[in-house]
């Protein structure tokens, strides 16, 4: 955690400052750095890093007699299993059904991201080209659905889809997922498109590029980083979603999120739930790494 000090460092190598004053100043700086950086570090390590380690540990243990986790050490007198085991991993990797459900969840998340992109991109493009006053208003209207609770937005679709017998179907799940995640795609796209220099479009037009050519050769390539940022912002939460499939999905629409939730809150098999969660974490990290590599090429 050694942070290179930048705050007011310039006076350090200024010869005319007296040695004594220089030391005192350095001490104050050291304390300031500590005051500002220790509390957040402490809180996040204690309530983020530690829980993550506990989750990894939990995936290596047996389930307790009545839920929870079996004890780590073999204490005399208490029967039942204890200690670490790879049983959960053998079970998860042994049976392809779990990789299958992960792929199915990834597939649903992918379709959601694609639909969000298809709907969000023209909207973001339109907003980015409106005059300033209108722009803020139109963006506000995109964020507003976030104003009402995430469950209510799902419940709205229960009411709408119910009578048409579309409820409890993959279609309902996709509609729900797109509905919940659409604003998350519009915002990064809009901020990216808004930054485009209009002069570039004039230059392209001046050099003989027609409307479609301008979009394909200029606007689209430059908005790629926005597209990847938006897609990651939709795909990753969608992958771990369980409320939408549970409320809108049918028997065949279970996602990995539902399975994890069920392990913890219904079938009380915490170790197996933790293992599934790790499987999901690994997938998310892979996706994040993949999309970070693209958004890294920040062009404009």
């Amino acid at each position: 955690m050694r942070g290179q000090r930048k705050w007011g460092a310039s006076y350090m190598n200024n010869p005319i400052v007296s040695k004594k004053k220089w030391h005192k100043q350095a001490r104050i700086d050291r304390i300031t750095q500590w005051i500002v950086s220790v509390p957040p570090h402490l809180f996040l390590v204690f309530f983020l890093v530690l829980p993550a380690c506990i989750m990894v540990l939990a995936s290596l243990r047996y389930p307790g007699e009545f839920g929870g986790l079996a004890p780590l050490w073999k204490t005399p007198g208490i029967h039942g299993v204890a200690g670490l085991t790879l049983e959960n991993y053998r079970f998860v990797l042994g049976d392809l059904v779990f990789v299958e459900i992960l792929l199915k969840s990834a597939w649903i998340a992918f379709i959601t991201t694609l639909l969000c992109l298809v709907l969000a991109y023209p909207l973001a493009l339109l907003i980015a080209h409106r005059p300033k006053r209108q722009r803020e208003l139109m963006v506000l209207f995109v964020i507003l659905p976030f104003a009402c609770n995430f469950l209510i937005r799902i419940y709205a679709w229960i009411i709408i889809l119910g009578p048409f017998n579309l409820l409890y179907s993959p279609f309902a799940v996709i509609i729900g997922m797109v509905y919940v995640h659409l604003p998350l795609m519009v915002l990064p796209l809009y901020t990216n498109l808004e930054k485009h220099d209009p002069l570039l479009l004039d230059a392209a037009r001046d050099l003989g590029a027609h409307a479609w050519q301008r979009f394909w050769h200029l606007t689209f390539p430059l908005s790629l980083s926005g597209i990847f940022a938006g897609s990651a912002l939709v795909f990753i939460p969608a992958l771990g979603m369980f409320a939408v499939p549970e409320l809108l999905g049918g028997t065949g629409d279970i996602m990995i999120g539902n399975l994890i939730k069920e392990q913890f809150l219904e079938s009380r098999d915490w170790p197996f739930g933790a293992t599934l969660s790790l499987l999901l974490t690994v997938t998310v990290l892979a996706v994040a790494q993949f999309s970070a590599r693209f958004t890294q090429r920040e062009l404009t």
Binding site: P63, F66, V97, E100, Y168, S169, G252, I254, E262
Partner: protein, 358 residues
Amino acid sequence: MISLTLRFIFFLLMLAYGCETAFAKDTLYLYNWNNYIADETIQRFEVRCACRIKQSYYSDNEEMLAKVEAGAVGYDILVPTGNTVETLIRQAALKPLDKTKLPHLANMKPAFLNAWYDPGNVYSVPYAYSITLIGYNINKLRALDLPTDSWALIFEPKYLQKLKGRVTVLNSQKELMSAAMKYLGYSIQDRDMRKWEQAKALILRAKPYWAAFSNNTYIKDLAIGNIWVAHGYSNDMFRAREDARSAGRPFSISYFTPKEGAVLAVDNMVLHRSGQQTALAHRFIDFMLEGENSASLSNMIGAGNPNQDAMSLIQPEIARDPNIFPTAELLKNLEMIRDFEPRERRILGRMWIEIKVR
């Protein structure tokens, strides 16, 4: 700018604090099945004992066990089914009952006392019972002329084709697999895993036709007409029938106990060890043992009634309903769910995961 934010935070704290203090009076925490006690009964008790009842709901024993395990503090009374009482006793999660405070225990029908899961009723007192059966939309099924007497309705593809996307089943491993075992003619106490494998296969064959796994939304869906057949508890089906009638829906709901037999669930009131209001809890249990209050369970919610004293107060057509008060010979093939050994439970658990995932 800063003052604006501080004022805003202060206002929020005051508002929140206001809501919180209103309920400082002594409060009894009841963790019960949803739709298993009438609001009117709750209000009568609150008036009689000048106290407040704070209710939380669960829709499956497993969910209750998991939640209690996760945040066990504060619940005075739970209403687990027989097998779950046995689990809670083994977990030493319950406080013994003080029978002296339960004068109305005498009203209990002898058949329901001294059950296998709590000999001598040390920890539990029967509250009500329900049968896990099939509710259906009379008009739709008559139009499709489907049988209304057997589990085949929700397990046989030849019937299910006509009901595609219109059937829900319970999202409970024990209930659903037990129903399948019953349909195959096996006892649900059977420990032979091969039989449970057959039950799993049966379920997997029927699953594509089902609309969803649901422990509670089926009450509303039946009443609205989104679904036409539901696997669920008798008192829930009673509620669905009442809702459909009161909402003036163009159809009516009925329910039947399949001839192959079904699961009987006797739910019992128990005291959780972390509850603070032990005295108040005893008064509530005794209150529910009184004939009149127990009768409200049947009259208003359609639950089976183990209370002898209440029988005279129950409305005749509910008393005659075999799905609420099963006749002696029907009782023969009703079985209660029992917990198996941890090893077997894990195998069944894994089967359940396959059912959900395949």
